[in-house]
Amino acid sequence: MEQSTVKFYQTGTFTVGNRLLAPEQRSVQAGDQRRNSLNSGHRACQGCGEALGARYAIDAAMAATNGQLIAANATGCLEVFSTPYPETSWQMPWVHSLFGNAAAVATGIAAAMKAKGRSEVRVVAQGGDGGTTDIGFGCLSGMFERNDDVLYICYDNEAYMNTGVQRSSATPPAARTATTMPVGPNPGNDFGQGKNVPLIAMAHEIPYVATATVADLRDLEYKVTKAMSIHGARYIHIFVPCPLGWGAPSQDTIKLSRMAVESGVFPVFEAERGEVTGVRKIRHQIPIEDYLRPQRRFAHLFGKHPDVATIALLQARADRNIRRFGLLD
């Protein structure tokens, strides 16, 4: 992918910024004048991956559109922690309607802007995995098939965290939530359920689909910037660890998303009109255990008698991603 052309030997392009890079080569987040579209004082938990991912993505979109951006937000953590009335953390035009209609509201905003001749104003819709893959899925699919000029960003923390960690269709197998089997032979979420929305989005053959994580800022910014350079329906799925729902230390948010990528659990790729055009390769492959072990939602797989069979099934899923997307050289 394009961002790897920046060569800097000490830290590569992995750090957020670098004093030795020319200003135009630095990330949006490294700028001392960055917009902080999602400002301080929001009520997200300590170490919230979604708050971080939202600022990364929206700041990049704001930079790409010179601040001419309107956001429609689904119900969920992001909406709740950023806008407890009468406060707002958003330093941009932002609207919330219902849990399931963010894509439709964004479509309407885009249509209104078109009617008003405000072609410079762009629209993003955003929500968590619940609002995207479950509740808002019909509106989302409609937005895709009509090829409305909206970038939809899904912040995937793999369950309904806002209401107390209930299972969503993005919850991975074996993960424990409030609404999966707590005991029995196979506690946690079932295998063979759930859906992969990036692949479904690709099946709509929309102009641009990408996945990203909060562990690779430059990749994320590159994808958002690229998405904003395209008109039509676009979808970016950002992996955002949730310290509360996953039972992980707050300082491990970025580390966990890095391990999700390096183990193959979460493939990072981009696709145009249904074809995969770029893949972020695994740099130092790690076994799935390394990723699972720090998370209490997988604690039942470890302990005195590790559930080797289930771990092997999860490893097989990661290996399938590696094969399918060519994540290893």
């Binding site: 000490q10 830290t11 750090t15 004093r19 902080n36 929001h42 300590q46 971080l52 009468p86």
Partner: protein
Amino acid sequence: MEKPFAITLDVGTSLANHTGSWRTNRPVYLSRIPPCNHQCPAGENIQAWLFLAESGNYEGAWRKLVEENPFPAIMGRACYHTCEGACNRGQLDSAVGINSVEHFLGDEAIAKGWKFTKPAVTTGKKVLVVGAGPSGLSAAYHLAMLGHSVTIFEAGPLPGGMMRFGIPQYRLPRNVIDAEVQRIVDLGVKIVYNTKVSNILETKQQGGFDAVFLAVGAHIAKRAYIPAADSAHVLDAVSVLRSMEGEDKPLLGRKVVVYGGGNTAIDVARTAKRLGATESIIVYRRNREKMPAHDFELEEALQEGVLVKWLSTIKQAGESSITVEKMALDDKGFPQPTGEFETLEADSVVLALGQDVDLSLIEGVPGLTVQDGVVQVNLQMMTGHAGIFAGGDMVPAERNITVGIGHGKKAARNIDAWLRGGVYTAPPKAEVAGFDKLNTWYYSDAPKTVRPVLDIIRRQSTFEEVQGGLDETNALFEARRCLSCGNCFECDNCYGVCPDNAVIKLGPGKGFEFNYDYCKGCGICVSECPCGAIKMVPEEI
């Protein structure tokens, strides 16, 4: 303000919500000591000068370097660079070539003619330094930089001490010594050659010196009793290496045996090779693990064809052969004779069994104590006689140039404090930035296209047959491999990864600051800081 139905509050920004009150631990920025700095006997701030070199500011890097050590070009060639052994990058791929960057900076300074900046104020105090070796010159430099008037009395005809008379030219060209010493002389340090001090108290009084730093080194070769025929050609290492400096090179013959296991033994064996010996054999009484010489020097010597006779002692030396006895290590690791003998052909035998200090100049100095042939000093480098300090090879310590230079600096700071009527207190040392403090994910692997080239140059630079060492691009590359352990290098990671925008970027060179009004204490900045320059501390209640 007219409010709609059921609305009682004004719409406002979330900045009113000070989430910092949630915090139980707070992140704080700190500087830890990088392992290289911690290891350096001369106390160089290696990470700091590499940091400057990374942006191509070579003069700034050189000036930072010489704050601690005035001899980068000499160090870049003759230092044993134990810093590289401590380098955290060694655990990642291979250690940063600190020594080769130092070499480059030293040569760059000589080529560009960079000079030391004279101190703005002088103190009017006079300090005598005895011996113009690494330790004496280092002390003179630091004393002069602190504003004192310094005179060096040197017994020999040229400056450099063991740097000149102990280190062969293939490791350290003499024009490098001359250039770096000249820079100290230009600072106003007076060096009086061919002047052996015989009574230090007398000399101090006559010259009206306020303090003295003794650094006469250890130049008397130790002898071992070896029954030798009249015609046997037995020499000592010190005089062999010293005579390399004169017109007449030492005549060692075609088959040379060197007796001893230190770095000097290896220097002599390699010198003999260069003088045309077909066989250069080191005879050492113990094995390779017990050898005090640095392994890389031995390795280089072996590559050059030097042979080593392990576990052997010389029993007898004849005109063209010697008799050695085989040894065996006992339970405690000491060599014991076995009674097995062997004859080796040898045109000459060079003894490299260590050196003693010439203590004649301090005889009868009240309060000064000598133990095991070396002068005892306290933590301030002062001998038992007030105002007389000592350092380098003549005090108890490991004997090498870098240690000597470190002694010179330490003594200079203590002499300065003593002259001002105080005691020098070193600033408190921060904790060491170990490998576990780093997040090495953020350091990219050095690109394959450059590495092999560099490796060749790295290898070559340790031999002085190769002129120059690193060129600018390689030096820059090498400097940029530094992980900056324990010290912020402004990568913006903390600024970027904070979910609460609670890190304030202060601008180039100024670093960052936490905004504790909003910092929730999640600790992501600490775990994602590549170099370990942030830590969490419990919030005080």
